[in-house]
């Protein structure tokens, strides 16, 4: 064999190995690609964690019973991926039929403007969502003059779970109608718990989540209905600003958050604590109260792993001198289903979304499997029996007193949760004043509106 032919074989062989290596390294969803023959396969994304996969399974079962001949392929995605890698998938050439996006991401609006998401006005009409979704939810899901995503459940934040046995031992009267009447009442409870050797309010202050939820809750009572509505919509440059973040309403809300720290209502080390650690401290009986969302109720009431004392729940108190004295449950809808423009089965995907908000799906999947609160308001009360009892109480409270749209989680991150969380943490560590927090929020809003034009 000559040197030239040996060399040729070596080069060709190496190139072949390299190509094999590249093929092995290439990413991409291998299932479903080139499935020209699988025309009746609907691809649906499902968020990992909690009861989400089980809820999806229950929805799929009910949907397929009404649509024989179809199959559903689910794709699990992590929460973090909604704002990163899933954006690429949803805007690519092979998106799922029913996808999930976080509407707080600026990319969500970009996709709408680029016509990469299907407008769901016909689904809204067919499912009568103008009426069946609350006014707040309709507003929350409206972007660029239309509706591009739907919510399967609603969430409540700013719940104070409390140790009723510890309250009794400390001589604290349980909040009437699940409401602390004032900051003074909450402070009094905190002081009495400390006197008994317990931390008052366990709070997951690390990161931006819980602290931005808290200011969203205080804002609900610090602002009038009109002011709150303006705060919730002015990220849209076409909406005139009538309520500034430098106005007394917002600074009052921020001052009240500061009061939680200044008046020692927060447990020690709250600003560096994870929510899970705060919850563990409460379950272990080291803290008398816990700030969390409604989703904590099933874990807290679990017979095996939950609390070993009598559990109660209440809403955070209104701010002092509140413009809106009645504290309502703070609702949010972060997990949204949508349809990419390049989805293979747009019509069937719309039918799927319509089924998602049907009474049947909301009862069998959202309530019975997920123990989550329905996103629609016409699920018969009797059907709420499938909910965790504490969550059912919250749902009834929502029906009776209404809910308030939580500002922070409901608007784009750059002008909401991520921005305000950092600013509030600076304030709580002495790096910023209340006024500076308001100014930071106002500057962020102005910059966002400018960039959005």
């Amino acid at each position: 064999m000559t040197l030239a032919s040996k060399r040729t074989k070596l080069v060709v062989g190496t190139a072949g190995v390299a190509l094999l290596g590249l093929t092995a390294c290439s990413s991409g969803s291998s299932t479903g690609s080139g499935a020209a023959a699988d025309d009746k396969v609907l691809t649906v994304q499902v968020l990992t964690g909690d009861q989400n996969p089980a809820i999806a399974e229950a929805v799929n079962k009910g949907f397929l019973a009404q649509n024989p001949g179809w199959t559903i392929k689910t794709e699990l995605i992590a929460g973090d991926a909604m704002g990163s890698t899933n954006l690429t998938k949803m805007s690519g050439n092979n998106p799922p039929d029913v996808g999930m996006l976080n509407h707080q991401q600026p990319a969500y609006i970009t996709m709408i403007k680029n016509k990469q998401l299907v407008e769901l006005g016909d689904v809204w009409k067919a499912a009568n969502l103008d009426t069946r979704y609350s006014a707040e939810l309709n507003k929350a899901l409206e972007r660029e003059g239309g509706h591009y995503s739907m919510a399967i459940s609603q969430g409540f934040i700013n719940i104070i779970f409390y140790n009723a046995d510890a309250f009794q031992a400390a001589g604290i009267t349980e909040p009437a109608d699940h409401r602390f009447a004032s900051m003074a009442e909450l402070k009094s409870a905190a002081d009495k718990l400390r006197a008994k050797g317990l931390e008052p309010l366990a709070f997951g202050g690390k990161g931006n989540g819980s602290i931005s939820h808290l200011v969203s809750g205080t804002l609900q009572t610090a602002a009038t209905g009109d002011q709150l509505a303006n705060y919730e919509t002015t990220y849209n440059p076409s909406v005139p600003i009538t309520a500034n973040f430098t106005d007394p309403a917002f600074t009052k809300a921020v001052e009240t958050v500061k009061a939680y720290q200044d008046q020692k209502i927060f447990a020690e080390g709250a600003n560096s604590s994870e929510t899970d650690a705060a919850q563990a401290s409460f379950v272990a009986g080291k803290a008398g109260m816990l700030h969390n969302g409604y989703w904590a109720a099933p874990a807290l009431t679990d017979k095996a792993a939950g609390v070993k004392f009598k559990l109660g729940w209440a809403l955070i108190p209104p701010v002092d001198g509140a413009a809106t004295p009645l504290k309502k449950l703070d609702s949010f809808y972060a997990i949204n289903y949508c349809i990419a423009s390049k989805a293979k089965h747009v019509d069937m995907a719309k039918k799927y979304l319509e089924y998602l908000v049907s009474v049947e799906a909301q009862t069998n999947a959202t309530i019975k499997v997920g123990s989550q609160i329905p996103s629609v308001n016409d699920v018969p009360e009797a059907n709420l029996a499938g909910l965790n009892p504490m969550v059912a109480e919250m749902a009834l409270d929502a029906n009776k007193n209404g809910t308030a749209f939580a500002w922070g989680p409901g608007v784009p991150d750059k002008v909401g949760q991520s921005m305000i969380g950092t600013a509030l943490n600076k304030m709580l560590t002495g790096q910023a004043t209340v006024a500076e927090v308001g100014q930071t929020a106002q500057d962020a809003l102005v910059a966002f509106r400018q960039d959005s034009k």
Binding site: T14, L22, C25, N114, G205, A280, D413, S418, T429
Partner: protein, 313 residues
């Protein structure tokens, strides 16, 4: 009468006769070398180089994660440098990297010196000091963050037992939060450095130490005047690697404080993550990452040059 030497027409060899064995062997080795290098090179280009170039491209746009790239020139760079939080993060990253790498190298050097001189149970120490280096970084960071929690964490519990109070909130204090992060960084980073320096020290000939001993040199004098200069190239390299690794240490910072409280521990990697994946500002995040990468690359080149000149000396 002289005999003319026939000059070959090609290749320095007589026409029609085979190439000298040495040259034939050399070209064969070159082909084999390229063939063996090619797969890794292709992978490097695809997995490392292309993403870096794409990142540089994105840094010149206002891309939000979807849609086409809209070029805006160097606007992102100007915005990033004008932002006070970013400037603070840059300064903080330099301080963190400097202190972290100094701690890693200093402690690694001390431990290597002790073990190489045959301290008792040195075999045990070789293993035990290396173990933190192989533990997953995020897991150890989460462990230490939980351990430092006021009232409930193990560290506070021990301090409480010693009568030193049990409600220290280091990770929630803007002035102190960087210290536990530095501790965890050094604790996790010292293992590999220790091993590298130990290997380097043990490669120094015993005769050198014997000669120094005969000349009446003390242990400390021997260490500073002989050992350190002889291991200087390795020392410079590990110091540089420690600095770069610490400056890029997203995991420990994000797991322990997420850059808080109130941005007090925000370094460039955590800020890049926040801007890109929480705020959707991929252009600005890429600009910051590119600037950071360029600075570290320059530092790396300086360090390599310094290390090379020491070796030549």
């Amino acid at each position: 009468m002289t005999q003319a030497t026939r000059v070959p027409a090609t290749g320095g060899t007589a026409a029609g006769s085979p190439a000298p064995r040495g040259r034939q062997h050399s070209s064969k080795v070159t082909v084999i070398a390229w063939a063996l290098t090619l797969p890794s090179l292709i992978l490097y280009i695809i997995v490392q180089l292309m993403p870096v170039l794409q990142g540089m491209r994105i840094s010149l746009t206002d891309w939000q994660g979807v849609g086409d790239l809209n070029y805006i020139g160097f606007e992102n760079y100007a915005k990033v440098l004008a932002d006070q939080d970013t400037r603070d993060a840059i300064v903080r990253t330099v301080i963190y990297a400097a202190l972290g790498s100094a701690g890693i190298v200093g402690l690694g050097l001390f431990l290597a010196a002790a073990v190489s001189r045959g301290v008792k149970w040195s075999g045990f120490y070789r293993v035990i000091w290396f173990v933190p280096g192989v533990a997953p970084g995020m897991a150890t960071a989460i462990f230490w963050a939980q351990s430092m929690a006021p009232n409930t964490g193990a560290v506070n519990a021990i301090l409480g037992g010693l009568g030193l109070g049990n409600n220290h909130n280091w990770l929630g204090d803007k002035d102190l939060a960087l210290l536990p992060i530095l501790f965890v960084t050094i604790w996790g980073g010292v293992g590999f450095t220790f091993l590298l320096l130990l290997g380097s020290m043990e490669s120094v000939s015993e005769e050198v130490y014997e000669a120094a001993s005969l000349d009446g040199s003390s242990e400390m004098r021997t260490f500073w005047s002989i050992t350190i200069p002889l291991i200087a190239p390795i020392l410079a390299t590990v110091a540089l690697l420690a600095f770069i690794g610490t400056a890029n240490n997203f995991g420990v910072v994000y797991a322990m404080t997420q850059g808080g409280p109130g941005g007090a521990t925000e370094i460039i990697p955590s800020l890049v993550y926040r801007r890109a994946f929480l705020q959707g500002d991929f252009g600005g995040a890429s600009a910051l990452a590119v600037m950071s990468g360029l600075v570290l690359m320059v530092l790396g080149m300086i360090g390599v040059r310094m290390g090379r000149s020491r070796q030549e000396a």
